[in-house]
């Protein structure tokens, strides 16, 4: 189920709110867990068994590791290895096997059986949560969760279940046992949720339509400028789509008394690639830093090893986003950019933020064109158009897309900066009735768009 659906907004959400707040406090975890499992099973019920198995395995191994980490550290380590291995194998089979087997068959290894598997929703997210939990226990950074119900809730909690943020156990440990929701906190959650819904339904979907229209232009109509407009449209689309989902998740968390970490911090205002990745999908990049990069030695090693570490981390980051060569390329692209930034450019252009900001934004935009095209020849054609291969600089169609798309692109630009949020907050404090009225209108526009759009997939579902 996705948040921006009729089923969620007008059936699931009212039911879970009603059940949660009617239930006595000691039963509330149970209510949330039950609804989370329904939420997960909705649409793809077979994988509920995978989810339950994952919860059980990780719960048991968590306890084994905790019991042995003090006195039998080797045994604890062995169990950590088995448990992490189990998680990775599950992820590998369901997410990567179809891709890997088709590649192997492609190079003549016809005996490799092909297998058509639907990707279990959210597996990339909850697998990473489980791994972080196990490793943190092994490192003695957290206490083990003895309550099976609470642990199951940590893994499967519906707000962040299918598209993050990847919540570390220590962030919610206390709240799993004891949490309080005030009306103001609930309202604050509502604010986040509405913001996310608006980002997804009113911005991302319109930007997406613009991109699709430009992407499908034949060579007779496209031009350098049009191709860049399309690339910008996608760049904003994916930001609003994904950060909108995170906002909704954070907002829902607040409504039930959980505080999830921030996942985006105005990434398109970053002045360098390094800073971009500190602001984009923060919970994922910090996961890779914590559990891959630093264990490999981070940057406290020889430059050659450092280069190796960066490239490994970024290939994996790319591959996490999808089973396809284009995601690998996209990850590698960032690995190389980060190395260039670290070893070649240093601080040479950071004396003034704007050149770095603009360059970073353009590089990120280009990167998304690797990301979005799973087909290499389509990727080459599109990126070629951006650099004038086989098309003119601008034509009448460019004018058409400027006239019909500029407004939504400018909105995208505006909402990508902190300026809007500052204004919004001041406005809310000073004219709160007007602010409330504005939110009602925006919510109605979201509902209208949802009624109109029967087609409404979440981009981040693939992961």
């Amino acid at each position: 189920m996705v948040f921006s659906s009729m089923t969620y907004l007008f059936v699931f959400l009212p039911m879970v709110l009603l059940a949660y707040f009617i239930a006595p406090p000691q039963a509330r975890n149970m209510v949330l867990l039950a609804f989370s499992l329904i939420f997960y099973a909705w649409g793809e019920p077979v994988y509920i068994f995978l989810m339950l198995m994952s919860i059980t395995v990780n719960y048991v191994f968590g306890r084994i590791i905790a019991n042995n980490r003090a006195h039998h550290s080797r045994y604890a380590k062995l169990n950590l290895g088995i448990a992490v291995g189990w998680n990775l194998v599950a992820l590998g089979i369901f997410k990567y096997y179809p891709f890997v087997s088709s590649q192997l068959r492609g190079i003549g290894l016809g005996f490799v059986p092909s297998l058509k598997l639907l990707l279990p929703i959210g597996i990339s997210f909850y697998t990473f949560q489980a791994i972080s939990y196990l490793v943190d226990i092994y490192r003695n950074q957290i206490r083990v969760q003895r309550g099976f119900l609470k642990f199951a809730l940590y893994i499967s909690m519906f707000p962040q279940l299918i598209a993050g943020p990847i919540v570390r156990y220590e962030d919610v440990e206390k709240q799993l046992s004891k949490r309080k929701v005030t009306l103001a906190m609930f309202g604050n959650g509502g604010e986040f949720f509405l913001r996310g819904l608006i980002k997804k339904v009113l911005l991302a979907n319109q930007l997406g339509a613009l991109y699709v229209q430009i992407e499908s232009l034949g060579v007779a109509h496209t031009s350098v400028m049009t191709a860049w407009l399309g690339a910008f449209a996608y760049t904003f689309q994916i930001y609003f789509d994904f950060s909108g989902y995170s906002d909704m998740a954070i907002g829902l968390g607040k409504m039930f008394g959980f505080r999830f970490p921030k996942n985006f911090d105005y990434p398109y205002t970053a002045t360098s690639i390094t800073s971009f990745w500190r602001r984009w999908h923060i919970s994922l990049s910090s996961w890779f830093r914590e559990y891959v990069y630093i264990p490999l030695g981070g940057k406290r090693v020889s430059p050659a090893k450092h280069v190796r570490n960066i490239l490994i981390v970024w290939m994996l980051t790319g591959f996490w986003h999808g089973a396809g060569w284009n995601f690998m390329l996209w990850g590698l692209y960032y690995g190389i950019l980060l190395l260039l930034e670290k070893y070649v450019i240093h601080d040479r252009i950071s004396s003034h933020p704007w050149p770095g900001r603009i360059l970073t934004f353009l590089l990120v935009t280009l990167g998304w064109m690797f990301f979005v095209h799973t087909d290499f020849s389509a990727m080459l054609t599109y990126v070629g158009h951006m650099f004038g291969v086989g098309c003119s600089f601008a034509n009448a169609t460019t004018g058409y897309f400027i006239r019909t798309g500029l407004f939504v692109l400018l909105l995208g630009l505006f909402f990508s900066t902190p300026i809007f949020h500052r204004l919004n907050e001041q406005f809310a404090v000073q004219y709160y009735t007007a602010s409330i009225a504005l939110r009602i209108v925006m919510f109605m526009l979201c509902v209208a768009a949802l009624v109109y759009q029967s087609y409404n997939p979440f981009l981040y579902f693939r992961f």
Binding site: M1, S5, M6, T7, L9, F10, V11, P14, L17, W42, G43, E44, P45, V46, L183, A184, M185, F186, G187, N188, G189, G190, E191, F193, L202, Q206, A209, Q213, L217, G218, A220, H221, N395, A396, T397, T398, G399, Y400, F401, R403, T404, F407, V408, A428, V429, Q430, Y432, S435, I436, R439, I440, F443, L445, V447, A448, A449, L450, V451, Y452, S454
Partner: protein, 397 residues
């Protein structure tokens, strides 16, 4: 904390408390309305049956079909659905959107369907099948008329620079190919110049919100065709009757773009009247005349012509002519066939999208003297069924 900060904090808390209440009220109000709102079976605006509450089975629960059907049901039966759709259309208009589902909103009141050259080969295959078929009947006079759509004739009404492919370009190439095939019994009728001339005179060739041409447009088309067929068209008088004056068509439904304007639907009746009997061959029914009052009162008044599209119609007239016509057609022809009736004693109308019989048996048995292919360019370009029925006969031999 200073007084001012404390005040701000208090106001912020008050804002969030109020928002919390409003949020819950919005969700629950709509959820409640949804529960009690009467269910509808059909949407006239969208011309489709609306989804109903799906039945739950282990099978559809397991494969996810139930959740899809549920979402569809909730969206289709949403309280005051049309009002929400209108609201979203308004938002799109304000945000400058001009394109939806293959339809452009023009500056004037016209909605214009796009033309996309996705696959020239498909149309080339159709053309080859047509030519091969006609080669088998060198003694039958044959005609092919592809009618331009509004994206060609009313090209100046499109938003400037809209990335639409040129029908004219494709048509010129196509007409050249047909000419190169060198069939002496085939005449290509090109109505574009005549249609453009009428548009310049301020005449309405296309419906504003529908993809069809108006009856007047069909009249102009018939005039061009009649000239090629050497029919005494100019001697015939027509009586014009308005049968509908609130016509809003398919392009509006398809795009969701609202247009306040409505068109009139006219019929041109031969004057003096002639006798016409239409046999719906596969439906086993025979009606007098060409027009359907049921079609007129339904959701698509264009169905006044024959009541819609049927696989095979046999029309016999009281005309003294000894010519018998076979037409392969799409719905553009429906408005035009009436103009040909006074000049043929029999007209067989085949819609390849629905026809399943053997076309060669029909051609040979009915004593056909003329064959005509009558399509609008969009359908001819996109639809593969014509080549299928023409080739199907060959495979049987």
């Amino acid at each position: 904390m200073t007084d001012r900060e404390a005040r701000e904090r208090a106001r912020k808390l008050r804002f969030f408390r109020l928002l919390g209440i409003v949020f819950v009220m919005m969700i629950f109000l709509l959820a409640f309305l949804r529960l009690v709102w009467p269910r509808k079976a059909y949407s006239a605006q969208e011309r489709r049956t609306l989804a109903q509450l799906p039945a739950m089975t282990t099978e559809n629960l397991r494969n996810g079909a139930f959740s899809d059907a549920m979402e569809e049901y909730l969206a289709d039966q949403f309280p005051a659905r049309n009002v929400w759709v209108y609201l979203d259309e308004l938002r799109g208009r304000i945000m400058g959107e001009k394109y939806s589902q293959g339809v452009y909103r023009s500056g004037s009141s016209y909605l214009i369907e796009e033309f996309k050259r996705t696959d020239d080969n498909r149309a080339a295959k159709t053309t080859k099948a047509v030519l091969d078929y006609l080669r088998e009947y060198p003694d039958i006079q044959s005609y092919i008329m592809l009618v331009p759509n509004s994206s060609w004739i009313m090209n100046d009404k499109l938003p400037t620079g809209a990335p639409i492919d040129s029908q004219e370009e494709w048509y010129t190439m196509w007409a050249q190919d047909v000419k190169n095939a060198g069939l002496s019994n085939l005449t290509v009728v090109s109505p574009a110049a005549a249609l453009s001339a009428e548009v310049e005179q301020g005449k309405q060739i296309y419906y504003r919100t529908d993809h069809h041409w108006t009856t007047f447009g069909a009249y102009v088309g018939a005039r061009e065709l009649a000239q090629a067929m050497d029919l005494p068209f100019e001697e015939q008088n027509w009586k014009q009757v308005v049968v509908h004056d609130r016509f809003q068509g398919t392009l509006m439904s398809k795009s969701g773009f609202y247009s306040r304007t409505a068109d009139t639907v006219e019929l041109y009746l031969p004057d003096p009247d002639i006798g016409i009997v239409t046999t719906y061959k596969e439906q086993q029914k025979t009606l007098s005349g060409l027009y359907s009052s049921e079609g007129l009162t339904g959701d698509d008044p264009y169905e006044v012509f024959f009541g819609g599209n049927y696989p095979w119609l046999a029309i016999s007239t009281t005309s003294k002519s000894n010519r018998k016509l076979l037409i392969f057609k799409d719905s553009y022809a429906n408005a035009m066939i009436g103009f040909l009736c006074p000049f043929f004693s029999e007209i067989h109308v085949v819609d390849p999208r629905y026809y399943t019989g053997d076309i060669r048996t029909l051609t040979a048995s009915a004593g056909i003297t003329d064959i005509c292919f009558l399509y609008n360019i969009n359908t001819y370009y996109e639809d593969g069924s014509l080549s299928l029925i023409l080739e199907g006969g060959e495979a049987d031999e």
